[in-house]
């Protein structure tokens, strides 16, 4: 089996009017980005692919995420390396537009697997991954609503 990247943009139903061609075009663009990153290994490929989709505003992730009952965006993400069974994840982070990058930092730079809330955001601040939600170029509810 040759090197390969496979992506999904969420299952379920879309709310409102969605430009399917635009969504598919972006997923494919992110897959190509992941394929390019494969030179740095499978972990780099999935991180770059997911970060690309998080940043697009087209999906229920990153800057395109739906809001909770308090009107806030709270993001979850996880990443795993199959060779060494290493995993890293963050949950309920509010001011991290690319939580997948923070999840990788949790895996590689802490002894933990899952960080949540303030602890995760403190790590994001220390690693330059923190950005206040109010400054996001944000388009909530644009994508699927579901994990």
């Amino acid at each position: 089996m040759r090197p390969f990247v496979l992506l999904h943009g969420g299952a379920g139903s879309w709310s409102g009017k969605v430009d399917v061609e635009r969504v598919l075009s972006k997923v494919e663009e992110c897959a190509r980005m992941g394929r390019y990153a494969l030179g740095g290994g499978a972990l780099a490929a999935v991180e770059e692919s997911v970060a690309c989709m998080e940043s697009s505003g087209l999906f229920n992730a990153g800057v395109g995420a739906v809001t909770n009952s308090a009107g806030m965006v709270e993001l979850d993400a996880g990443i795993m390396d199959g060779a060494r069974r290493g995993a890293g994840a963050v949950a309920c982070v509010r001011n991290v537009p690319n939580p997948i990058r923070l999840a990788r930092r949790v895996m590689e730079e802490t002894p933990h697997v899952l960080l949540v809330c303030e602890g995760a955001e403190d790590l994001a601040r220390a690693r330059g991954l923190w950005s206040p939600q109010s400054s996001w170029k944000w388009s909530a509810s644009s994508g699927h609503s579901g994990d």
Binding site: F4, L6, H8, S49, N68, S69, M80, D147
Partner: protein
């Protein structure tokens, strides 16, 4: 939710999943996406990323189940069985799963739609799941 699985030139698998969760969820609610084995999993046999309603995916450890099934099943069958288990156990299906194995990639889907894309050194393609044969990319 978004997710990715990959196999690199050294034969290493990786998986990643990221989400905003469910619209209107309670503050501090956590779904399957950051839980290893639930929203994502990677091992020596393969890698998986799941999407759907997180509470059920968490309980069923859908991504771990899919990768474990690769020990005795082809990728397509493993993906379908992992997704089908939710319908069997809960009478509920609205899940998508992407799975990478050494024999190739596969998609399991009980939801209406799921945009997917694949890329290799041969090129790239995208489609709404069900329309694309990823093994042809």
């Amino acid at each position: 939710t978004v997710g990715a699985v990959a196999l690199d030139g050294s034969g290493v698998f990786a998986a990643a999943t990221s989400t905003g969760g469910i619209r209107g969820k309670m503050p501090c609610r956590v779904g399957d996406s950051p839980v290893p084995g639930a929203g994502y999993y990677a091992g020596t046999e393969g890698a998986a990323s799941a999407t759907g309603i997180g509470e059920m995916i968490m309980v069923e450890l859908v991504s771990f189940r899919a990768v474990e099934l690769l020990r005795n099943a082809e990728a397509h069958r493993a993906a379908e069985e992992a997704v089908g288990a939710l319908e069997r156990d809960f009478g509920w299906g609205n899940v998508g799963l992407i799975l990478m194995s050494r024999s190739g990639p596969a998609i399991g889907l009980s939801a209406k739609l799921m945009p997917v894309a694949a890329a290799s050194d041969s090129g790239s393609a995208s489609a709404l799941a069900g329309e694309m044969k990823v093994e042809d990319v």
